[in-house]
Each structure stands twice: as structure tokens, then as C-alpha cells.
Assembly symmetry: none
Homo-oligomer: 216 residues x 2
DNA sequence: CTCGGTGCTGTGAACGCGCTGAGGACACCG
DNA sequence: CGGTGTCCTCAGCGCGTTCACAGCACCGAG
């Protein structure tokens, strides 16, 4: 367990408390030191303050994710504005607690993070020169912005989460379209057509009798 | 996306808001209905109220996890006590929001949950230098891609799951063809011929009077 | 060697999958 | 109330896929 916190008293309290729970705890007091430790330490999870000397918590997570490190991050901040929280999460944090926080809650959220354990995926999906940002709801192709409708976006989002895999029309109808409504499979073909016009003809491959596949 | 919430106004508001974000949303109004939907629906994630008729949100998650369902769960509750929150998380929820909540925060937390995907399992069948990937629907022979039609692919798939074993034409008709009664056994011979042309003459052995066998 | 049975393959026709343009239904907005 | 944009259905079409058919090759038994 890695604790990145510059306020010495809080850091020490966290370390003691977590050690009592059986965690092995390292502490870093600055942004750069925390980033370094997270890169090389092989930790199960990280507790990360936002206000740090040298490098903010936001930036730290962003860099970590950009370098393909996916360890669970619980962010701590004195800022309790809704946009602060949303920003922290969209930078790649997995959870966000505002100070002052309850120690009981911190532990429970830590357990939930560790339980899930599975490495997360990037905040921005990228396949080839296609990039899709779920938070900003934007898609670019070779750095040029592409405007998509809600349905087109949802369809591309779903396909980009499993690039290279063949996904059947039924599965797409189930997940991208509302399952309760009865939508004709042809709707999928229509929207694949729309996407092809906007993204390029050969980005979406048809696998006859099976489904569609996003070219990698 | 599954929303389990008995307060009709909130449920409707959530549904509308999430649909505007491009999610396909189903709503369940009672605990048992929500549990059923979560079991069978194949959802990406679930938003779950704690106070529900028939079955509490806590109990719902606990049962779901006991049944080995791991979809991400975001719990909603009017209770903001630290132990309520810890209980919810320890029952198996992945995140916990107290009412009233910010819609912006809800969305950000939902994105964080969805970012962590179920780990993908690469199941690739391999026999000799033949490789078949059911998910990507790709077949390679000595690292060279082979394009197959739907029927050819299904036939090879079935044979590669039992390499070396002799499989009768009737069995192939039953499993690779759906309406075995309507199709002549000769169709199998025809498709074995197609596969031989694409994969190499000696990959598929004929066992006269018994069936076919994939050379190991 | 002969002969019947079994499997192989070229031909061709019907089928149905997927693509597309047109247009209706609907919501939103000025 | 018309304009605009999105969503989705519908019908037609092109073409790849599927499969029956028939003739031929091959195998094994007598």
C-alpha cells in the first residue's frame, strides 16, 4: 500500500492505521516521489492526496495511466465540489474521498478497491489513430475531431472496448440499444454505415454471418 | 445499465439522464425484480437503491456476489452514516453515493466503474500450426491468415475442439448445421473439401464409413 | 480383375445477408 | 409553426454463400 500525502501528521496516522490492518505501507511526501514509487513499487493500491508539492494528484494519476500503470487509486482531497470530484475520477482515479473523512469509510472503500483488483482500462480509448474520450464525449480521428450522434457514439464506444473482436448484431442491440424496445437488426447495419462514412470505410469490418469487428 | 429504484420519479429521471448519455437503461422497482434482472440481463453495471420493497439493496448485492455475478454496483442511499456506507461496500458494492447526490458525480463514478472491465480471457484453439480464435473469428495457418465463410468456420471450430477424434457426418450435421433433417450428408463432404483447399490437403483425414478426423 | 459402395468435386441455381437511399416519426428550438 | 437533427423502418439490390446434383475417382471385398 502506497500513501502519498505531504501532511506529516495525517500520513503517519494513515500508516499506523493501515499497518494495524495488516497492510505493508510506504509513504511518499511529494508528487514526484509518489509517482516514482508508484511506477516501481508493485503496490496493490495507492492513497493519493490531491494537494501535493511538485506535482498535483490529478497530474500524478494522469501520468501513471498514460504509462499503462493500472493500480487502484483512492484520491483524497479537501475540495468537495462536484466538479473537483468528477475531474479526479476522470483523470483515472478509482475513488474519491473528501477531507475530513471517516476512517471506517476509508477502509471499506479500500477493501472494495482491492476486492475488485482487476486492472482498469484507460480513461481514453485508443485504437489506431482513433481516440474516444467517454468523459468529454469526443472522438478524434488522426487528431481531427469527428462529430457523432448519441447512438453513433455509443456504438463506437462499445466496439472500441473490444477492438479486434467480432461482436454480433444481437449483442450490439442488447448493449447499445435499449433491450426493452424491439429494434430491428437492420438498425445496426444502418449505424455501422453511418460510422463508416465518418471514420473511414475500412475501420469497421463486416464478418458475414457473425457480426462486426473494429480493425486494430 | 440497470437501475433498481422504487421511487418512480427518481428512477425516471435517472433513466432519462443516462439514456441521454447513450446508455441503454432498464429499470426495476423492487428488490426481487432487480435481482432477477441483474442475474439474466448481461448489464455493464447497476445503480442500486438501498431501500427497496421486497429485498434490501444490501441483501441483493450479497446474493448476487454469492452467485458469482461480478457486475459493477453503484449503491445509492439516503443513509449517510459511516457504518451504513461501510456495510454497503462490504456487502459487495463497488461504490456508494448518498442522497441527495450530484448528477455530475454520479456520472463520473459510473465511468470510473465501467473503466474497470472484466478481464478478458484469450481462448484460442491451436492444433499444429492451425490457430482459431473464436472471439476474433480469425483463423491462421502458420501465421498466415485464412478467410473462412461462416459455415466453414463453424465446421473447423467444431473439429478443432476434438482434434484427433473421428467425428461422424451425422454428428457434424447435428452441431454445425441446425436443420440436420433438411440437409444432405453430402454437404459435409462439400465443406470438408472447401476446408482442405484452404488449410491444406492432409489436415483433414477421411475415415471411410466413420467420419472425419483433424490431424494433430 | 470386377464391382458396388463411398467419397470428391465442378457446376449452377436459389437464397439470404448486409448495404443503401428514401422517408416517416419524433423531439427540440427559435 | 416551420426548421433542424436524430432515430429507425422499409424496400430494393448486389453478390457472396450455401447446397443439390451428377459424374467421376477411389477403396476394399470377392
Amino acid at each position: 500500500m502506497l500513501v502519498v500525502e505531504d501532511e506529516a501528521r495525517l500520513a503517519a496516522a494513515l500508516q499506523r492505521g493501515l499497518q494495524a490492518e495488516g497492510f505493508a505501507v510506504d509513504v511518499a511526501a511529494t508528487g514526484p516521489a509518489g509517482l516514482d514509487a508508484a511506477r516501481h513499487g508493485g503496490y496493490d493500491a495507492m492513497i493519493l492526496d490531491v494537494m501535493l508539492p511538485g506535482l498535483s494528484g490529478y497530474e500524478l494519476v494522469r501520468r501513471l495511466r498514460a504509462e499503462q500503470h493500472w493500480l487502484p487509486v483512492l484520491m483524497l482531497s479537501a475540495k468537495d465540489g462536484e466538479y473537483d470530484q468528477a475531474d479526479g475520477l476522470d483523470c483515472g482515479a478509482d475513488d474519491y474521498l473528501t477531507k475530513p473523512f471517516s476512517y471506517v469509510v476509508l477502509l471499506a472503500r479500500l477493501r472494495a478497491l482491492l476486492r475488485r483488483g482487476a486492472p482498469e482500462r484507460p480513461t481514453v480509448l485508443a485504437v489506431g489513430d482513433l481516440r474516444l474520450d467517454p468523459a468529454r464525449r469526443r472522438v478524434t480521428r488522426a487528431d481531427a475531431e469527428v462529430t457523432l450522434t448519441a447512438r453513433e457514439f455509443a456504438l463506437l464506444d462499445y466496439l472500441m472496448r473490444r477492438p479486434g473482436q467480432v461482436i454480433s448484431k444481437v449483442e450490439l442491440l442488447d448493449h447499445v440499444w435499449d433491450a426493452s424496445l424491439e429494434t430491428a437488426p437492420n438498425a445496426v447495419e444502418v449505424y455501422v454505415g453511418y460510422l463508416r462514412r465518418k471514420l473511414g470505410r475500412d475501420r469497421l469490418e463486416t464478418v458475414r454471418g457473425a457480426g462486426y469487428r473494429l480493425a486494430t
